[in-house]
Assembly symmetry: C2
């Protein structure tokens, strides 16, 4: 593992270490395929977890939100944060109830936030977030203006520890259970998209853009 | 809102309150459709977020894991927890970069865990978790035995505060942006499943069960 990441004891996966991955390529591919991150922070001693759109920027993770939101306030004050991205690839049906599982790919990244205040940096972050969700879109929308920057906090998470966890393959049952009459295998799950639905106020003559017709996530 | 939930100030959604829902029916439907929860807890002052399979049991949420896992240890010690379930329904493309959004349904539930140790309660929890993921499956698998109970911690989250957040519909742009030439609308997203793949060790003559052929989540 020549690309293995430095990691603290906290970031070393203790449970099912065979599923753990620390290579940058594995981590980046999961972060780039996901759409929503679950962002955890501590607010008055309580753990909070909220779904947020994000984008990867090298080894950093970009988030944005309202300046009034609790997550932005905590992160701008330097509070620590966990960003978790999970892709579910299948349901694993074992012969025994206890060995049912899921095939999934997840990344857990720990770090702290820093607010981006420079207009150039903020615009680059907007671009990365829009392009993360819909590649090709940023060149086909009205770019952020001064008011947009004012009403949006942009935060870069400097990641200190990151790891991925991946489960693939079929069920693993206990020896005697292979003789039971129960079906076993995997139900593959994927994210799918339907035809784009135009806004009711869309002006005549604006066609569905090519970057939406060919939309897809990851290499699946 | 006759079914409105009691809630503390912490659980009252401050951002975009028009998207907030506190009715039990809305909350239950989201929890019942989701497959994976993102579970947040505090470990040595750090916020951790991990993906876990779950099930709803009335107003409680059931989790399970290895007795050695940090999440089980923290929850068995009475640590507070947030369970967040998010369903992504579509990408919302606005004419301006800043007004891009997602259609989604999410539940954020705060509470504390209690370990279930009674064998009957544990089996009922196994049943609920298996049935949550694949309705109809529990009657068609080998039920948990004493060893399974020993190697699995089952936790019930007693939820003290819970709320849902839902965004639907098309983009909302600023007045001047409606005259720009950019396509606007929604790209609907759904979870999809492919044909079940039998385990390579499956004995001859065991067909794909009907509960898998007709698999589906929620009312979509």
């Amino acid at each position: 593992m020549s690309e293995q990441r430095k990691r603290s004891p906290e970031a070393t996966i203790r449970r099912l270490p065979a599923r753990a991955h620390y290579e940058r390529g594995t981590i980046d591919a999961i972060l780039d395929e996901g759409l929503v991150a679950h962002v955890g922070f501590v607010d008055d001693g309580r753990p909070l977890v909220i779904p947020m759109v994000y984008a990867r920027d090298g080894e950093r993770i970009l988030l944005h939100g309202s300046p009034q939101s609790r997550v932005c306030q905590v992160l701008c004050e330097g509070g620590s944060v966990t960003v978790t991205v999970t892709l579910v690839d299948g349901l694993v049906l074992a012969r025994s109830a206890a060995h049912h599982s899921m095939n999934y790919r997840s990344v857990v990244a720990f770090g702290t936030g820093v607010e981006l205040t420079d207009a150039g940096e903020k615009e680059a972050a907007f671009r990365r977030i829009v392009e993360h969700v819909v590649p090709g879109r940023y060149a086909d929308c009205r770019v952020p203006n001064a008011k947009d920057f004012e009403t949006t906090t942009v935060i870069a998470i400097e990641v200190s520890d990151v790891s991925a966890k991946v489960r693939t393959g079929g069920p693993i049952d206990e020896r005697p259970d292979y003789d039971t009459p129960h079906w076993a295998g995997v139900l593959p799950l994927t994210l799918a998209w339907d035809a784009p639905r135009a806004d009711e106020h869309l002006a005549d003559g604006i066609d569905v853009p090519n970057y939406l017709r060919g939309y897809g996530r990851g290499a699946r």
